[in-house]
Symmetry: D2
C-alpha cells in the first residue's frame, strides 16, 4: 500500500513522513470538492492574517504586497472557475496555500506562520455560518411581510379552525396566517441571539495553543467584523457550537415550514379543497393525466426531514470526540452546506406559496356548517347567564348529541330545543351559533376575532417596517 515519498507530489505537511499516502486514502480523506465553497472566507481570513503578520514585523512589506496581489488573482481565478483545484492537496486551505507558493515563491511560503488549518477552518466556517444566519433572517422577514400582506384583506373571512384536524372554532383567516408570522418572529429572535453569542474570532488560536510569535488576534477579529477575539485557544479549535446551533435553528425554521406545508397540502387535497395552489408550484404525473400535485410543499416537508437528519449527524459527530480538534469534524461541512441551502430555498419557495395560493370561498363556506363550530360560543353564552362552565359544557355536549341524532348542525337547532336542555337561555341564544358572529365576539387581546386581529396587523406593519428600514441602514 505504501510507496516511498515522491518529493514532487508530497503534501505540505509531509516533512516527517517516510511513505507516500495511498491514493485510496487520498480519495477517502480529501474534502476539496466540498470545502472549496469556503474559499471566499479563506481568502478574507488570509488577507487579514498577512496584514497582521506584516504589522507585527513577522512579514516584510514587500512580501505582503506580493501575497495580497496573488490573493486577488486567486480570487479571480476561483470566481472565473479557472482555479486549478487539486484533490491531492486535500482541502481548500492547502490548495490556496500551494497556489500562493506558485504565484509568489518564498513570500507565499511565509503566509502560514502563526496559523494552523485548525484555526483557519474554524474562522472560515464561522464566517460562513454567521452569513447564512443573516440571510435566513432576511428571507424570514420577507416571508412575514408577504403573510401580513395576504392577511390584510382576510380579517373578516372565517377559517373553520381545527384541533386534531377536527372542526374546533371559527378563526379569522388573517388570524390563521398571522400565527405563521409569530413563528417566523421566534426564528428571527433566535438568529439575533445567535449572531451575538458566536461573534468571536478563532484566528490566532493556531493548532490549539496559539503561537510563540507576537500575533495580534484582537485586531484580526476586528478587521474580520467579529465583536471580539477568542479568550482561550484550546477552546476555539475544537468548538463547533456555532455549527451545531445553526443547524438547530435550521431545524426550528424547517419545522415551522413543514407544519405550514402539512396544512396547505391538507387544505388543497382533493377531498378538502379549501385552497388551490398555483400551477407554477405543482407538478404532474407521468402516468395520470389529471394530476396536479403539491410537490413543492411535499419537498419542503422532505427537506425538513433532511435538515433533521443533518442535525443528527452533526450532533453525533460532536458526541464522538474528546476536546480539541479531531478529523471527524471534517464531516461537518457535508451536513452544514445542504442545511443552509435547504433553509434558504424553502423560505424563498414559501414566499411564492404564500402569495400564490387561492382560497375557494365556496368550499370553505360549505364546510362552515360541519362540525358544530360554535359549540364553545354556546357554552360561554351559558356561563354568561349563570351556568357553571363544566355544566354548560355538558349541556352543550348533549345538544350536539341531539344535532347529530337529527343529522343537522348545532346552528340548526331551535330555541325550544336548546331551552329544553337549559331553560336559562334567552331568545338571543340563536345569535351565538353563527360562525361569522363568533369573530365579532372574540375581543380580548390575542383572540381570533376581528378586533384583536386588526390590532395584530397594526403591530406587524409597524414592527416589520421598522426592521426593514433597520436592515437597509
Amino acid at each position: 500500500m505504501s510507496r516511498p515519498v515522491d518529493d514532487r507530489k508530497k503534501a505540505l505537511w509531509a516533512g516527517r513522513f517516510q511513505e507516500e499516502v495511498d491514493r485510496d486514502v487520498q480519495q477517502f480523506t480529501r474534502s476539496v470538492d466540498l470545502d472549496r465553497r469556503l474559499a471566499p472566507y479563506d481568502l478574507a481570513g488570509t488577507r487579514v492574517h498577512v496584514r497582521m503578520l506584516s504589522r507585527q514585523g513577522i512579514l516584510s512589506a514587500s512580501d505582503l504586497q506580493r501575497i495580497l496581489k496573488a490573493l486577488d488573482q486567486i480570487d479571480e481565478e476561483i470566481q472565473r472557475n479557472e482555479f486549478p483545484w487539486r484533490d491531492e492537496l486535500e482541502d481548500v486551505h492547502m490548495n490556496i496555500e500551494a497556489r500562493l507558493h506558485e504565484l509568489c515563491g518564498d513570500a507565499g511560503r511565509s503566509v502560514h506562520a502563526g496559523r494552523s488549518r485548525n484555526d483557519q477552518v474554524a474562522v472560515d466556517l464561522k464566517l460562513f455560518c454567521l452569513e447564512a444566519a443573516s440571510e435566513w433572517s432576511r428571507l424570514a422577514h420577507r416571508l412575514q411581510a408577504a403573510l401580513v400582506e395576504r392577511a390584510e384583506p382576510l380579517v373578516e373571512q372565517v377559517f373553520p379552525g381545527w384541533t386534531h384536524l377536527q372542526a374546533a372554532q371559527p378563526l379569522s383567516w388573517a388570524h390563521y396566517l398571522l400565527a405563521w408570522v409569530e413563528m417566523m418572529e421566534r426564528d428571527r429572535e433566535r438568529i439575533a441571539a445567535y449572531l451575538k453569542i458566536h461573534s468571536v474570532s478563532p484566528l490566532g488560536a493556531g493548532a490549539l495553543a496559539g503561537s510563540t510569535l507576537a500575533l495580534d488576534p484582537e485586531k484580526v477579529a476586528e478587521e474580520l467584523g467579529f465583536q471580539r477575539a477568542f479568550r482561550n485557544s484550546y477552546d476555539v479549535v475544537g468548538d463547533r457550537d456555532f455549527a451545531l446551533e445553526l443547524s438547530q435553528i435550521a431545524v426550528q425554521i424547517m419545522l415551522h415550514l413543514s407544519r405550514f406545508s402539512e396544512d396547505l397540502i391538507y387544505l388543497s387535497s382533493t377531498a378538502v379543497g379549501w385552497i388551490e395552489l398555483p400551477d407554477s408550484l405543482c407538478t404532474g404525473s407521468s402516468m395520470m393525466p389529471q394530476k396536479k400535485n403539491p410537490d413543492v410543499l411535499e419537498l419542503v416537508r422532505g427537506k425538513t426531514a433532511s435538515v433533521i437528519g443533518h442535525n443528527a449527524a452533526l450532533t453525533t459527530l460532536l458526541k464522538g470526540i474528546p476536546t480539541s480538534y479531531h478529523r471527524d469534524l471534517q464531516q461537518d461541512k457535508s451536513h452544514l452546506f445542504p442545511t443552509v441551502d435547504a433553509v434558504a430555498s424553502s423560505l424563498a419557495i414559501f414566499h411564492a406559496a404564500v402569495r400564490g395560493f387561492r382560497i375557494d370561498a365556496k368550499a370553505v363556506e360549505a364546510d362552515l356548517q360541519r362540525g358544530h363550530l360554535t359549540a364553545t360560543d354556546l357554552a360561554e353564552y351559558l356561563v354568561s347567564v349563570g351556568v357553571p362552565f363544566r355544566e354548560a359544557h355538558e349541556k352543550v355536549g348533549k345538544l350536539v348529541g341531539l344535532a347529530i341524532a337529527r343529522d343537522v348542525g348545532l346552528a340548526e337547532l331551535t330555541v325550544d330545543e336548546i331551552r329544553s336542555v337549559e331553560p336559562r337561555c334567552r331568545e338571543d341564544v340563536i345569535s351565538v351559533l353563527d360562525p361569522q358572529g363568533s369573530l365579532q365576539r372574540r375581543k380580548h387581546a390575542g383572540a381570533a376575532g376581528i378586533l384583536p386581529v386588526r390590532r395584530q396587523l397594526e403591530f406587524w406593519r409597524r414592527r416589520l417596517d421598522g426592521e426593514g428600514g433597520e436592515e437597509k441602514g
Copy 2:
C-alpha cells in the same frame, strides 16, 4: 369494545359521547403518572386564572375564595403524597379540576371558563421549562467557579496538549481547564437568550381561538412572571418551540460534558494514567476484584446519548403534525422530563468530578518526553531567524524524522544536528525545545502560555463573582 356511558365514571368532556372509553384505550391515552409532575405549575396557573375571572366579573368573590382555599388544600395533598390521583381522569389537569368539584361543588365547576387544556398544558410546561433552564444556568455557573478554583494553582504546570489524541503542543493545565469554562459560558449565554425569547404567557388562548368571555391575558401573564402575553392564540396552543429549544440547549450542554468525560476517561485509563479519579466517583466489578471503573463519567456520556435521543423524539414529534394542537404532543413530556433531570444531575456530578480528580504529576512528566511537543516552537524559532514558515516546517519535520530514527525525543538532539539541517540556528535554539519554556513564550492574548492564562483567570474571577452576587440579589 364499547359500553354505554356510565355517568359516575365518565370523563369531564364526555357530554356528547354515546359509548364509554375502553379501559385499554384509557390505559393507552392516560398521562397522569407522568404529567402530575406539572401539578405545581398547574395550580399556579389556576390560581391566577380564577383571580382574573373574578376581577372580570365572570366568577363571584365568594366562589373565588372557595376555589382558592380548595387549591391550597390540593397543593398540600399533593405535597404530602395524599392526593387521590385517578388514571381514568387522564391527566393532571382533569385530576385537579375533578378534585375541585369534590371540594367546592359548583364553584369548582366554574374554574375552567375561558380555558382549555390546550392553553393550560402550554402554560404549565412553559413554566416548567423556564425554571429548568434557570436551574441549569445556576449549576453551570457553580461548575465554572469550581474549574477556576482548580485552575488557579495549575497555571505553570504543563499539560501535554493533543489534537487527534497525538501529542501536539504544551499547554498550561489551567488553560486546558479554562477551555471548559468557556464552553459553560456559551451554554449560559444561550440560556439567557432563551429565557427572554420564550417569556410569553399562553394562558387565555383557550383551545385555539381565545374566548368570547372578557379575559385579561396580559394581567395573567404579569402575575405569572412572564414578560408579556401571547399575541396570537392559534400560534401558542400549538407552539412547542420553547420545549424544542430547551432540548437543543440540553444537547449542547451534554455534548460539552460528554467531551470532558471522554477526556477524563482517557486520562485516567490504565495505560495513560495522568489523572486518578476519587473512589467516590467510581464503582467496581462483580467479577474482577482489582477494578475501579469511571462509571460516573461513562454514565454522563451515556446520558448524553439519551438526551440526544430525546431531542430526536421531540423533533420528530413536531415534524409529524400540522399547525394547532394534536394529541401527539402529549409525548413531549416523556422526553422533556428525563432531559431536564439528566442535565441537572450531570452538571452536579461534574462539579464533584472537577473538584475530585488528582493529577499524577510523575506520569505527566514522563510523557512530556514523548511526541516531540516543541516541534512547532522550533519551527517558529526558525521563522524568527528568517526562514519562511513552510520551509521551517519541512526542516523541523526532517529533524523529527532524525529523532525517531535515533529513538530519542526532539529535545534530545544536539545543536550540531539541528544546524546540519538549518545552519541559520543560533546556539540558543536548544532553549526552545523545553516544554516548560514553551509556556513562557506564548504571550499573545488567548494563547496557552502563563501570561495570557493569568489574564484569563483574572477575567473569570471578576465575571463569575459579579454574577454570583447578581444571583443572590
Copy 3:
C-alpha cells in the same frame, strides 16, 4: 464527598475501595428501579448457571439445592411485590445476589463464580429482547387477520385512491386494507430473521475473557433455549447489536402504524369524513363540547416519534464507545423498555381501530366525482386503440383541462367532446370513465381490481391460517 467505607453498607465489589461511594453518586448510577424488570430473566439465567456449576464440580449438590430453593423464594417475593429492592445495591443483579446471601449464606456467595455482571446483563437483556420480538410478531399476525376480515366484504367497494393526497385512481377498499397486511408481513419476516441471528447465549463470557474455571457454555445455552453459545467472549460482552436491531425493527413497525394513523386521521377529519372512528377510540375537549378527537391514533403517531428517538439514543450510545463493556450501556434499558411497550400497545390498539372504524359510504360516493379518477383508464383506453401512451396522456390532460374549465368531472364529458380531442375513440369510451368499472378492468396480478384482490384474499387466508396453527402447535 467521600467517607471511609462502612462495612455494613458497602457494595459487593468494594474490596479494594478506600472511600464509600457518595449518596449522590449512588443515585446517579443506580438502575434498579428500571432493570428490576429483567428479574425473571436474571433468575432463569442464575438457575441454569448454578446447575452447570454443580455438574462441573464447582458447586456442591447441597449448595445447589439451597440456592435453587432460595431462587424460588425470590421469584415469589418479586411476583408478590414483596422483594426488598435496595437502591444502594445498584442493579437487579446485585439485589438478587445479596438476597441469596441472606437466604442461604455461603452457598449464595458461591453463585457468581465464573460469571460477571457483563455476561449476566447481556443474557438477561437478550432473553428479554427475543421474547419481545416474538410477542410483536404474534400481535402483528392478529392485526393482519383483522385486516383480512375487514377487507372481505369490501372487495367491490371503491376507495378513491390518492397519491400526494390528490385523487389518483379507484382502488378496491379491500386492496387498500390489504396493503397494510403486506407491511405487517415484512415486519414479521424481519422478526423471523432477527430471532435466528441473535439466538446466541453470552452466558459464560464472564467480564470479557471467559473463565479459568471449567464452565460449559454450550449446555447453558441449550438449557436457556438458545441455538448456540458465543464463540468469542470479548465480542459478546460488548455486543448490543440485538438491542439495536430490535429497536430498528420497532422503528419500521411504528412507521407502518404511523402512516396508517395518518390515513385514518385524514379520512376521519371533519372536512373529509369518509370514515368515522368509534367513540371508544376518541376523547373529547375540556373546552369545546362538540369535539370528538382521534387521540388514540394521534398517540400512535406520537409514540412513533418516541420510538424513533429511543432508537437514536441507542445508536448514539453505541457510537460513543470503544469495544468491550462500558457503563454507558446501562442507558440502553431506558430506551428499550418504552420501545417494547410502545410497539406492543400500538399493535393492540390498532387491532381495535381496524375493527372499529365505520365507512361513510355516502361521503365516499360523493367524492368519487372529484378529481377525475379515471383519467388514466381513459389514457390506457387510447393506448388500446393505437395512440402512443405519451400522446394519450397529453390528450387526456387536455380533456381534463376542458372539464375543469366547464367545472365538471371528466366522467361528465360527452363522447363528442372526447372525440374532438381524439377521434380514434369509439362510442364505448364513456364506459371507461366509471370508477366502479375501473375495478373490473384491473386484472393483472397485484392490481387494485376485483379479480386480483380476490386472489390476494385467498392467499392471505391460507397463509395466516397456516401460521396461526403453527403458533398453537
Copy 4:
C-alpha cells in the same frame, strides 16, 4: 411567477397545466443531478418493461426493436459521459424517456404505457439497494479474511484487555481481533436476510393501482432477477422499507467500524502507543511538523456519524407521510447514496488498516505490569481451593489494596503476603499471577485463552473459505 406554458419546453406531464413551472421551482424540484446515478437500473427496468409490452401485444415488434436499439445508444452516451442531461426534465426517468422520443419518435412515446414514475423509481432504487448490500457483504468478507490472517500468528501474544478502558484481564491478541470477525459475521447474516425479504419487484404497480392493460409483472420480476413480483400495487409504490432497512444495516456496520476505530485511535495515541499506524493511513499537520495523525480512522468515525444522520433523515421522511407515494420521498436518494458510499469505502479502508498496523510489543509488555490483570485468576484460584466466590473476590480486593499501598503490581506480592489474607492458598498460587499463564488456563469454548482461540481460528478458516468459494461459484 407564472408564465403561459411554452410548448417547446414543457414537462412530459404538463397536458392539463395552464401555467409554466417557475424556474426557481424547477430548481427546487429537480433531482437529476443526483438520481442520474440510477440510470443503469432505469435502463434495465425499461428494457424488461418494453419486452413485456411487446409479448403482451401492447407494443409492436418493430417498435420494440427501435426502442431497444435506442436504449443501447443511451446506455453508451451515459457511460461516455455524453448524455444531454437536462435539469428542466426533472429526473433521470424523464430525461431518458425524452431522449427516447428524440431517438425513435412515436415508438419512444409508447414506452411508458402501463408504467408510472412511482413504480419506476421504486424498481430502480430497489435494484440499487440490493446491489449495494451484496457489495457490502463481499467487502465485509474480505475484511474478515484479513483479520483471520492477522490473528493467526498472534494467538499466544497477550493483549491487556480492558473494560471501561481500565485494565481487566489478559486476552490473546488473536481473540481480540476475532471479536471483530464475529461482528462482521452478524452484519453479513443481516444482509443475507435482507436480500431475501426485499427481493420483490414493484414494476407493474403503476402509479398505485396497476394497470387496465394486460401487464405481466411476474415475468418482469423474473427477468430482473427478483424472486417474485409484488402482491399489492398500493403497498409497493409507497414502500421504502428496503431503503430504510439498508440504511439501518449501514448503521450497524459503521458502528462496528467506529468502535474498532476508537480502539485503534486509543491504542496508537501518543500516551498509550501499543500500536503504530502505517504512514500511508495518516496525515500531518499544517503547523506542527512532528504530527502524524490517524485521520483515516477519525474519518471512519466521522462517516459513521454521517450515516447515522442519513438514517435519521430517512426515518423522519417516512414518518411524515400517509400511505402511498408522496414527493417527500425524493429526498431519500440524497441520504442513501452517501450512505452506500461511506460503508463501502470504510470497509475498504479498514481492510488496509487491519493489514497495516504494527504492534509495539515492548510497549504492550511494559503495560502488562499495570492494572493487576490477573486478579480474577487469583479469585478463581481461591474458588478452586474452596473459598466461596464472593469471599474470594473480597480477599483479592484487599490484596490489590495492599499492592497499591506498596506501589507494586499484584504479581509482585509474596506468597506470605497472600497467605496472610487467605491461608488456604498453596505455594503454587504465585503461578496464577502471570498474564501469559492466564491464556493457558482459559480453556472452555469461547474463552480468551490459547486453546479456544485455536478452535475459533479453525472455524473461521473453514467458514470463510467455504464462502469465498461460494462467491466465486
